[in-house]
């Protein structure tokens, strides 16, 4: 069975308009937020001067959009590169479940191809050459290695663009888009795993954010999903810090196909922690060679929280390549726990020509 989960048809195009131009029609508000179309990056996108219009069927007829579309249709015009930027990031669609991207476009006689790109105007992931100028055509991106390039840092379908190119290398034209959709692989009914190795009862202290090493992973989709924290009653203050008390915490996660997983913990929030961390580095003076690559990894420990050490060097101590310059420098080590208790230590670092 093929599941076509995300179908961003002409209706969705209307949503695009709501993000760029304030919506006035009452109906548009109901579906606002559904569209993946986003603003072009004003610094890098070659499509930033491209003008977009969304036409209803009646408006499309008036505007002279070539027949063959269904419902709403998008028109793109411009004197330079013509294209749109879409952002699927907040839909959490892992690339591992995307079988293909589909787009329905109309090529004018002037246009040679449409390009799917992650850096509009610089390079492309896929080119689709016009086969029948003057007709609507389906553009399909299904090559796994090409699809993979559309992932964001979390491995989800991310931000990318569609751009039109002309035959003669010139820029400027009008293009029409009828549909953009993502076709997913066959679904499953197996929920993701909530990955948590800690105790079912957590004891912590007030005045700091809740922290636990929790994630969710779906073995079928081979992708991680966000975990939602659901408290049985108000557990944090206005700044997001825990309030003293006893709570029930439910961890929830869903995969791309709506399969849900849950795990419940109990949390006791006790008195505020007032003990600062201890920096585990005894030496007050380090001797080394000028040009040394700094690869120090200094630890600290705390009675309640995992803590790390922030290293701050005096001005000019380290060059752009992370190497020590010649001279005597000051290294300040700082460790703070989640409540804000802090410890600081200063180390003198001497970098000479001889060691």
């Amino acid at each position: 069975m093929r599941i076509r989960r995300f179908l961003c048809t002409l209706m969705c195009m209307t949503l695009a308009m709501t993000s760029l131009f304030p919506a006035t029609a009452a109906g548009q508000e109901e579906i606002k937020g559904e569209i993946p179309i986003t603003a072009h990056d004003p610094k890098t996108s070659a499509y930033r001067y491209s003008k977009m219009d969304i036409y209803s069927q009646e408006e499309a007829v008036e505007a002279g959009v070539p027949f063959g579309y269904s419902g709403y249709v998008m028109g793109l015009t411009g004197d330079s590169a013509v294209g749109i930027t879409v952002d699927f990031s907040d839909r959490n669609i892992p690339l591992s479940v995307v079988k293909a991207l589909h787009m329905r476009v109309y090529y004018t006689d002037k246009q040679r191809e449409v390009r799917i790109t992650i850096d509009a105007g610089v390079s492309w992931v896929m080119r689709h050459e016009a086969k029948k100028p003057g007709e609507w055509e389906d553009v399909v991106l299904s090559n796994p290695s090409e699809l993979k390039k559309l992932a964001n840092d979390d491995g989800m379908l991310g931000v990318f663009g569609f751009g039109f190119r002309n035959h003669d290398g010139t820029r400027g034209s009008t293009a029409y888009i009828d549909e953009i959709s993502a076709e997913l692989i066959d679904g499953d009914d197996i929920p993701p795993r909530i990955v948590y190795d800690g105790p079912d009862h957590i004891e912590t202290t007030e005045g700091k954010p809740f922290a636990a090493d929790v994630s969710a992973y779906d073995d079928q989709e081979k992708a991680a999903f966000p975990v939602e924290y659901v408290w049985d009653k108000q557990a944090t203050d206005g700044e997001g810090n825990l309030i003293k008390g006893e709570y029930k915490l439910t961890l929830r996660a869903s995969d791309s196909f709506g399969n849900k997983a849950e795990k419940t913990l109990t949390v006791t929030v006790g008195e505020r922690d007032t003990t600062p961390p201890v920096i585990l580095f005894d030496t007050d003076k380090i001797e080394t060679l000028a040009g040394a690559h700094v690869m120090l990894d200094i630890k600290a420990e705390d009675d309640h929280d995992p803590v790390s050490v922030v290293m701050t060097w005096s001005d000019g101590a380290v060059d752009r390549a992370g190497r020590l310059t010649k001279g005597t420098h000051t290294l300040t080590l700082t460790a703070a726990d989640l409540t804000g208790n802090k410890t600081e230590k200063t180390v003198t670092v001497v970098a000479n020509d001889r060691l």
Binding site: V122, S123, N143, S145, D282, T283, T288, I298, R320
Partner: protein
């Protein structure tokens, strides 16, 4: 009754061995690539691609295990430890990524604790001769053309010519690595889609764009002009180190690398091996239409154009071909002078 018991012998842990051990020979590639390099035969890679990056360098683990507060790890190519690279670190070991293949290294530690310093013995190990793959965060299929030996007894210098895929996923760490660590001064972009662009490596990196030919495309009029233009970049020492790339870092990039290495006189098997490293990468991987055995045939076709016949060596014929393209003897000599060194 007196109870006899076996004497208790406490088993002490083995003393921690240092790493790398004296005399060790270490590969900077993963096991699969190492075996391929050791037993290299052209065009044997049709079953290895799965679109994962398998060509990134494997770091060398150093372990000294003395528990000092801090340690200076000194690594030198000279037995007297002169002119070392130094790594200031904590803990009892560290992994170093950017060592060079085919090199004898010497190393020692100078550790500090409680105001005292302690210097270790000098240890030595070798790295296996192989292509030098390089890790630039966010970039696939990267390698240094250095380290290859020529038929006239020279070697391509390390750290002057890098090839790879495009910078579409380049990260801030990648920029730092490319510019601050590798020192890249010029980006030579071989794609056709970009003109008047800027390098994502920053304003201090010179950007050169050439619409480059693929394989037999070098025989077209445009291809000849472009190939000459590409090679001239290496004739100017101010351009070095150069990073050249197309999209995948395999075809247009492989075409230029082939011609450049042939001009330098690199042994033919090393030229082909450098090309085929792409098939171990994510971007340079292949599909049904671009199986390695098919792509190597494209390289054979390129070779038949720039170096036809069997009588003269690859270098001589390539040089003759490039002279016909309009490159001068002075330019070709400059490329060789810039990129080759005597083997000491």
């Amino acid at each position: 009754m007196e109870q006899q018991t076996e004497p208790v012998t406490e088993k002490l842990p083995e003393p921690a061995a240092i790493e790398p051990a004296d005399g060790a020979v270490i590969s900077l590639l993963n096991e699969q690539m190492t075996e391929w390099v050791k037993d290299y035969k052209r065009s044997q890679l049709d079953s290895i691609c799965d679109f994962t990056e398998k060509c990134e360098p494997v770091p060398v683990r150093f372990y000294w295990g003395d528990g000092a507060d801090y340690t200076n790890l000194l690594i030198s190519e000279k037995p007297d430890m002169s002119d070392p690279d130094v790594y200031l670190c904590t803990g009892d070991g560290i992994e170093i990524e950017d060592l060079l293949p085919g090199t004898t290294y010497y190393w020692q530690t100078v550790s500090g604790a409680n105001g005292e310093k302690e210097r270790s013995e000098i240890h030595t190990f070798e790295t296996l001769q192989s292509p030098r793959t390089v890790h630039i965060p966010g970039v696939s299929n990267v390698r240094d053309l250095g380290g290859k030996t020529t038929t006239d007894g020279k070697r391509v210098k390390y750290g002057l010519v890098f090839r790879g895929a495009d910078f579409a996923h380049l990260t801030d760490e990648g920029v730092k690595k490319a510019v601050d660590i590798l020192g890249i001064k010029t980006e030579l972009d071989l794609r056709s889609s970009v003109k008047n662009g800027k390098s994502p490596l920053g304003d201090n990196v010179k950007y050169v764009s050439v619409t480059a030919p693929y394989y037999t495309g070098v025989s077209s009029a445009d291809g000849k002009t472009a190939l000459a233009e590409e090679l001239r970049v290496f004739a100017d020492p101010d351009n070095l180190p150069v990073y050249f790339h197309c999209s995948l870092g395999r075809d247009r990039t492989g075409t230029l690398a082939f011609v450049l290495l042939a001009l330098l006189g690199v042994e033919e098997d090393q030229v082909y091996m450098d090309y085929e490293v792409s098939f171990f990468s994510d971007m340079g991987g292949y599909d049904d239409k671009t199986a390695p055995s098919f792509m190597v045939q494209q390289l054979d076709s390129l070779k038949s154009i720039v170096s036809p016949g069997k009588k003269k060596p690859l270098h001589d014929k390539t040089r003759a071909y490039l002279l016909k393209l309009g490159l001068t003897d002075a330019e070709l000599d400059a490329i060789r002078a810039n990129l080759l060194e005597e083997i000491s």
